[in-house]
């Protein structure tokens, strides 16, 4: 029996997926307009709308989320916070397991299974990390990436924050297939996914107060800095942080009419002779 509420969320999610597809469809590369030179690097065709939601999210963060994260971090003992982190992470192990299987990472999946059972039984329902397997987050968006689906345009979602369209579809899909959510749904635990998401958000925000403040203070364009950090971090997560070589941008000097390859930041450059001369005159 599918409950009425579930049906309504199903409908709204379908709308969300359709929207994301629509946005993806709009992503035809613009021409050689100067204001669009960053297009190939940042792939952000709906930047004005994204900036709007970015500002809205920041406002929500300032009045609601950040204060809660502050209180949470300062009022609760560290041990409790760690247990909350452990518990939420353990709750996600089954979906990480499924994603790792789908990505063909059987070692990772084995770790997820081991960590889940060890921590659930020996770590009192996941409150303590007994297994110490250091399992990574594996979401559906990463699985899509491994399957070769490109990330699509950058997307800032209301409340959910920075995403790419691929990740946004992944979030919706994951809501339905996540075993923890399924169990809660079958046992009629009301608003389980909502509380869990809220927990995850506060857990994340309380750990990132300083770093986000720092980025905001030191950047001249906070939105662009976050966009760059988000995408680079996603790439790192997709490679599971163990890509043999650290992914590196091609740093050298740009050639006149050189077009960057569409999905990478690889840029060919000319020799650095002229610049080093110029530079030494500036440096002194």
């Amino acid at each position: 029996m599918i409950s009425k509420k579930f049906k309504s969320t199903l409908v709204s999610s379908c709308v969300a997926i359709a929207m994301a597809g629509l946005l993806g469809g709009c992503a035809t590369p613009p021409g050689d307009d100067t204001t669009n030179v960053t297009y190939n690097e940042v792939h952000d065709p709906i930047e004005p709308l994204n900036r709007y939601f970015f500002d809205v999210n920041n406002a929500i963060d300032a009045v609601a989320l950040k204060p809660i994260a502050h209180i949470y971090r300062d009022a609760l003992p560290e041990g409790v916070q760690e247990s909350v982190s452990n518990f939420l992470h353990n709750l996600s192990q089954p979906i990480y397991f499924l994603n790792n299987i789908a990505q063909g990472d059987l070692d990772g999946a084995g770790d997820n299974m081991g960590a889940f059972f060890t921590n659930t039984f020996l770590g009192i329902g996941g409150l303590f990390d007994v297994a110490k397997l250091d399992t990574q987050n594996e979401d559906l968006g990463q699985t899509f990436a491994v399957w070769g689906i490109s990330e699509g345009p950058y997307l800032v979602l209301p409340i959910l924050g920075p995403n790419t369209s691929r990740e946004a579809v992944g979030i919706v899909g994951e809501y339905f297939i996540d075993p923890a959510n399924l169990v809660a749904r079958n046992n009629d635990v009301a608003n389980f996914a909502l509380y869990r998401a809220a927990g995850n958000v506060v857990d994340f925000r309380s750990k990132s107060i300083e770093s986000l403040d720092e980025i905001e203070k030191n950047s001249i364009d906070f939105y662009a800095a976050v966009r760059s950090l988000y995408r680079q971090n996603r790439k790192n997560l997709i490679l599971d942080g163990k890509g043999e070589m650290t992914p590196l941008p091609d740093i050298s000097f740009e050639m006149e009419d050189d077009q960057p390859a569409s999905d990478s930041v690889s840029l060919l450059f000319e020799d650095d002779d002229a610049t080093s001369k110029k530079a030494s005159s500036i440096a002194n």
Binding site: T35, I220, N236, G241, P249, S276, A279, S280
Partner: protein, 213 residues
């Protein structure tokens, strides 16, 4: 007799096994290791000097700024990083704008990172290893060990200049390249000002002058 023979064999065996290994490495392999060692030395020295300077309460703020500027200039290839960061807009900028950008970018980096390093207390830089990337570049892997929480991965990209000196051209924190982050941020500022580099310079000027000394 047999025992003696066996003993000689036991002693000699390692040499026999290693001998081909000792002979085969060509001089380039030696140069390779020398390059890696010096890159590690560069990062290690920079780390110690920067922390010693910035965490020293006896040094005045002005002296800190002067000392840190010198450290950045000698250890980083700032002109190259600056040009990479300005990217496509470099060609459009006039000579004067290019020069002003380089000088502002250097100040921006100094203001940003001096504060960051000054804030790190009780954290240690541990060099893990160095790997050659190509003929000119070496990647030094290090970790920031924190009193609590997992270590932070920090990689340094070191490249030989024309003169053969090794200089840092990028810092990669948890696989996030700082040069690329600045580049995308700056590029966005230029685009939002109608593709004019002047808009970026304006932003940088006010950011640098607002920064606490």
């Amino acid at each position: 007799m047999l025992v003696k023979k066996l003993m000689i064999l036991a002693v000699a065996a390692p040499f026999l096994v290693t001998a081909p290994l000792l002979v085969t490495p060509v001089s380039s392999a030696y140069a390779e290791t020398a390059r890696e060692t010096s890159a590690i030395g560069l990062v290690e020295k920079l780390g110690t000097e920067a922390v010693n300077l910035l965490s020293n309460a006896d040094v005045s703020a002005d002296d800190k700024r002067v000392g840190f500027t010198k450290l950045i200039k000698t250890n980083f290839n700032m002109p190259l990083i600056g040009r990479f960061v300005l990217g496509k807009h470099w060609k459009k900028a006039s000579k004067e704008q290019q020069a002003e950008f380089q000088s502002l970018f250097q100040q921006y980096i100094i203001v940003t990172y001096q504060k960051r390093i000054g804030d790190y207390a009780g954290e240690n830089l541990k060099i893990v290893k160095a790997t050659p990337l190509n003929k000119k570049e070496v990647l030094v892997n290090s970790q920031i060990l924190r009193p609590k929480g997992p270590p932070i991965k920090l990689d340094w990209r070191v490249r030989n200049t024309k003169k053969g000196e090794q200089k840092i051209i990028d810092m990669i924190v948890e696989n996030v390249s700082m040069a690329l982050t600045h580049r995308e941020e700056f590029s966005s500022v230029v685009s939002r000002n109608g593709g004019e580099v002047e808009g970026l310079l304006e932003k940088l000027r006010s950011h640098v002058s607002d920064a606490p000394k």
